[in-house]
Subunit: 113 residues, 2 copies
């Protein structure tokens, strides 16, 4: 069995947390500072920074510090690996369903003979 790419682990792990997904949803509307991003959340700024670090480490978000302000933005290609894994699984199942459909149709045809 081929070993899946290690970064897919980290991406799915990062997405398995509602606060981290909420941060990504908020950043989908545009880049913003860490403090602005933390404002509507009922968790500490330190916790938000930790979540952002997880998102940054697996390439879902980028942050940049200018003076005292750290600005965060979505990395548009960050979800590609996760999307590709899901899409590959789904297309494999669809192929199998098509194959099954074909076999059933064949069986039905031969029952009319």
């Amino acid at each position: 069995m081929p070993q899946p790419k290690p970064d897919v682990d980290r991406i799915f792990h990062a997405l398995g947390d509602a606060t981290r997904r909420a941060l990504m949803e908020k950043l989908s509307d545009g880049s913003m500072s860490v403090s602005k991003l933390a404002e509507p959340l009922s968790i500490s700024l330190a916790a938000v920074v930790q979540h952002l670090q997880v998102l940054e480490e697996c390439g879902l978000v980028r942050t940049e510090k200018t003076g005292r302000v750290r600005t965060c933005r979505i990395e548009p290609t960050g979800l590609d690996a996760a999307a590709e894994w899901i899409s590959a699984r789904r297309s494999r199942w669809e192929q199998r369903l098509d194959l099954l459909g074909g076999l059933l149709a064949k069986e039905e045809d031969s029952s009319f003979l």
Copy 2:
């Protein structure tokens, strides 16, 4: 900020483990018994059963016991929620990129005036 559906948490968490993804990849080729599924993996049967439980609890896999044999199969709609979340984020970013492209084109046009 709307609270994301709780099951998306569990699905992404379940997918954040290479062994669980490997089990799903194997099941994509067809349903099979737990022992057959465990065969090529270098982990104990008990560990495979635990991983399958995680996959079953979040609706990615279904198992059925007939006599002493437990058969596992993929739940084809199991990845829908995860795929929808990723797809919604990507289309939001694409919209933003289109908007940005439009604004830049407009700026370029006006600089020619």
